[in-house]
Symmetry: C2
């Protein structure tokens, strides 16, 4: 059993002693990073969350302490008392590197077995081992830094929102399905056997109700839940900075959120975000970058060649144009030298985005090479090259198809080429951009109906109101996303606050009145009582932290994450439940299957 | 459909205009509190979260606005522009009562039906109607105040903890059973059909793991879940201010939490909590007040009469003493005049706490009256009266039984009498008290074994370590509760950080090694790697807000609460689930029962 503190108090963190502390008698507590003997002395590096301090023990300093120090091993938890002295061999790399602690007392608070992972900067273990031994993984200084950073981000965000009149109000976790459309986690009810709560995918409806309640400005750092198959950077539970404001229009929401984001980046990273942040309509983003979250740290925009090729007798181009599609292209600077095989691979790549193929034009020193050259007159070729602003040495890559396929495939190809050819020069850049004027609806081939692009409470743009019934695909919405370096940081919208309009919206989405009331009746009911104009936004907090911490793994920014099967290696959740409890809940397990 | 804002910006809250604003042109937005005509003018009281402002419309101010203002009804949401002018008939009761707004523009942003509850201070509706129409109930100024207060309490707590080096770290909601011993909410897993997550009853294990991770000081304002039958002031989901510290002993945890609580009461209420807060051992609390959360705003302590009555030949007293119990009493000042029926009712009352009866001695002007007088000599009577410090006019109430029954029944009787006889003089007093030295174990008659009083990670007091195996009922723990006016505000303990001791603890609790590892193995495993001494505490945030807001209904301090059956009248959760989803989860509904 370890020794008790017995009233001993720590006087500093290990990372704190400096030259100005020389001569002070202090007490430190922490974990042994390493323990080595040198010239009859015993040196221990002692670590806590704030840093590392070198301890020195010697027979002539204190014999008992020296002998006990000899026995400690890495990750023992110890307390020591001693005098801060100047170090002989100083270490510039450590903030405490000018001093060391001459120790006359050591308590072994607890011992440690050899840990299964090294506690140091950088990774040495598989993710499974790290997650299983998360408490040790979290001891690593780079993980400690991430959670100190995360704490700072939420604190700065809260301070900002508080200063701007937002009220932090908690919304329920045990609730009813919310309208995001992903799969809910369910919680069986004991009081109502056969009935279920749902965990919220977001506080969407409740924050709108808070606006109807007159709270005016709401925020919450809110846990959200989605029972989806986890792609690389998703977790079953994740955190949003969620906010909503009354008596506002798009500009107001955008303005306050720009200040929020710039405050976070300034206070946490010392980085100045240039305000106002650039804006781009959804249409422009798709046409230029083939994406609603364009990475605009580099150019290589998509160019529309439909006009240039409209008279060409090439069945692929003709077919695309006749079916209402388009012919568009990228120009890869200096790409003409790419070999046939590599270009073929690009062709395979775009096929994964449903493009039928990839035409290309190589502008080589020795002349133009292109499999479609035979369909083009010299004038055609000249006008294409001119439209693409292509020069000798460049490679033009062309997709002809319906627009959605053209955008998606060229957008993905653009990102793929950027990676391959390192088109993003400054990796430390934070390039923000608002995307606006999203479509209100998108057509779901699967469900054979229009679905809401954001959610069914998003307001249409005033000028497009008339098209809700006649041409829903063309209606734009008062929605906005904030994109950083090609990733969505957050998004929101002005909401519908009019019951009639909300009902038109539900109708366009194919809900019967009964279905709409069954799902969202309490919100519709609330609309009867003077709802204010309102709108809001939610940022993915985990994603913000990933950017700020410079990691591309969401599991690095969540203290106790789950794996891609939503399994926790540490606690072994999910796990079996007590038969008696299932009995009380009125449920049976149908399938019993071990994975 | 309501009018659009069309770029109109609010310049102030309704509660803000003052005499110093006279002459300013401002725009306000809010809800119509009332609309009345007077002397050819139209007066509207406009309300938002910050207060109420009087608007005035007239034909000669602006005819269009006047006519439109005539049409608005209570709870319409409107925007107005006008000039702040001095009010003729000032109103001292309103902060804005010196001015009014002479309006030349009004927009009706949305209309309202007649609301089912009045939007005003004070209650006029049943709780069910309030909860069903929560968005309207929350518009009432007293509810708005509560959530503005709640926001302030959490902000002050966060600022304090941040300033004191605590890191806000999120712990999982989808997790495994935690050791509190109440019933968990379960969440069926889709990836592992037949397996379940549990919602946390507290972040207990995770916060201890964070200490083992070296985070040193953790806090979280954490949602917790218990699927229990809801007593008056319980909710299935509730919120804790949860914290944990490394390298500390009891004094350290108590000290920082005293400062936290006093900071909250000072910053939010302007109330100075006298520090240090008084302390009482569990033993004293039980012996003097018959409760581990004693209300010490009044005296009337329990007095032990065992010594005085030990030789009396009264079977009830004798029996109690022979069985290791005791004879104890309360002295109700001025209670001698209580009638027989009322005293009988007190006898019925203590029977609900398993006491077999209530003996009494009335010290009337005309002489002593007592059904047990016949068993007592004059000397016995004198020594009882003297021990009780009773005087003519007082009533002595005696219970003889085993100690647990004596304490519980007299403790409850003490509170009951305090209420009936208004013994608590100053209702605005905040009387804090720490209760310490809780027993580590309590014997569960039902389970026929010892259970943990707090939780199985609570450390025993050093001086009692040896009794864990030999006399577990006598072992005291390093646990502490903070009690305010007879209610538990929070509690915590120093934790065991030694695996051997933890295993002795589990053994004493009757867990086999296998059971202990199945439930808490990941914590035991973590103990192998240098766990620091640590301890912490959790406050019930909802309860703190209840005290600060002066309400005794927990549902008043939760924005969207559930009723006592854990049902939400507003969203109608829990509700039926989709068959397809249950299929994916691999569960069947066994009972289908509508309540």
């Amino acid at each position: 059993m370890g020794e008790a503190l017995g009233g001993l108090k720590r006087s500093m963190y290990c990372g704190e002693p400096r030259e100005s502390d020389i001569g002070k008698k202090i007490t430190l507590m922490g974990w042994v990073q390493r323990n080595r003997k040198l010239g009859g002395l015993d040196f221990i590096d002692l670590r806590d969350r704030e840093g590392i301090m070198q301890l020195v023990f010697g027979e002539e300093i204190n014999k008992d302490a020296f002998e006990k120090a000899n026995t400690v091993k890495p990750e023992y938890c110890i307390a020591v008392t001693g005098e801060v002295v100047k170090r002989e061999a100083t270490n510039d790399k450590m903030p405490t590197g000018m001093v060391e602690l001459k120790c006359d007392m050591i308590k072994i608070l607890s011992e440690s077995q050899t840990p299964p992972i090294y506690i140091k900067e950088g990774l040495d273990a598989s993710e499974q081992v790290r997650l299983k031994n998360r408490y040790l993984d979290l001891r690593r200084p780079d993980m400690q830094k991430i959670f100190i950073l995360r704490n700072k981000v939420t604190k700065v965000a809260r301070d900002f929102l508080d200063n701007n009149g937002f009220l932090d109000i908690e919304t329920p976790i045990l609730t009813k399905s919310t309208p995001e459309g992903a799969r809910d986690y369910l919680v069986p009810s004991r009081n109502y056997p056969g009935m279920f709560y749902a965990l919220p995918q977001s506080p969407q409806i409740f924050k709108q109700l808070l606006m109807i309640s007159g709270f005016d400005k709401y925020y919450q750092i809110a846990k959200c839940f989605r029972d989806e198959d986890l792609r690389a950077n998703r977790q079953p539970e994740f955190t949003q900075i969620d906010l909503e404001m009354s008596f506002v229009e798009e500009e107001d929401v955008i303005e306050v959120n720009e200040r929020l984001i710039s405050t976070i980046f300034r206070e946490v990273l010392g980085h100045e975000v240039k305000l106002p942040i650039a804006r781009m309509t959804f249409k422009d983003a798709m046409e230029k970058y083939g994406s609603d979250k364009p990475d605009i740290r580099f150019g290589m925009e998509i160019t529309d060649l439909s006009e240039e090729v409209k008279d060409i007798d090439f069945v692929v181009f003709k077919g695309a144009l006749e079916n209402g599609g388009s012919v568009r292209a990228l120009c890869l600077k200096g790409g003409a030298s790419m070999g046939r095989k590599d270009i073929d691979r690009l062709g395979e790549f775009v096929k994964t985005y449903k493009a039928k193929g990839l035409a290309y034009i190589q502008l080589k020193e020795e002349g133009i090479k292109s499999p479609i050259a035979k369909f083009l007159s010299e004038d055609d070729m000249t006008s294409i090259i001119s439209k693409m602003s292509a020069e000798t040495g460049d490679l033009i890559l062309i997709v002809a198809d319906k627009n959605s396929v053209v955008f998606q495939s060229l957008g993905a190809l653009r990102m793929d080429l950027a990676k391959k050819f390192e088109l993003i020069k400054d990796k430390s850049e934070f390039n923000f951009c608002w995307i606006t004027e999203f479509p209100l609806f998108e057509y779901s081939e699967e469900e054979e109906r229009y679905t809401a692009c954001h959610h069914p409470f998003t307001a249409p743009m005033d000028e497009d109101l008339d098209m809700i019934e006649t041409d829903p695909g063309k209606v734009r919405s008062k929605a906005y996303d904030l994109v950083l370096n090609g990733e969505e940081l957050g998004g929101g919208s002005i909401r519908i606050h009019d019951m009639e309009l909300q009902q038109r919206m539900f109708k366009a989405l194919g809900f019967t009145e009964e279905e709409a009331w069954a799902r969202f009746g309490f919100l519709l009911e609330a609309f009867k009582f003077g709802p204010p104009p309102h709108g809001g936004l939610a940022f993915g907090l985990d994603r913000i932290i990933m950017f700020i911490a410079g990691t591309d793994n969401i599991r690095d920014v969540i203290a106790f994450p789950k794996n891609q099967n939503a399994y926790c290696y540490l606690s072994e959740a999910p796990n079996i439940a007590d038969e008696k409890q299932l009995e009380e809940l009125g449920i049976n397990i149908k399938v019993k299957e071990d994975k």
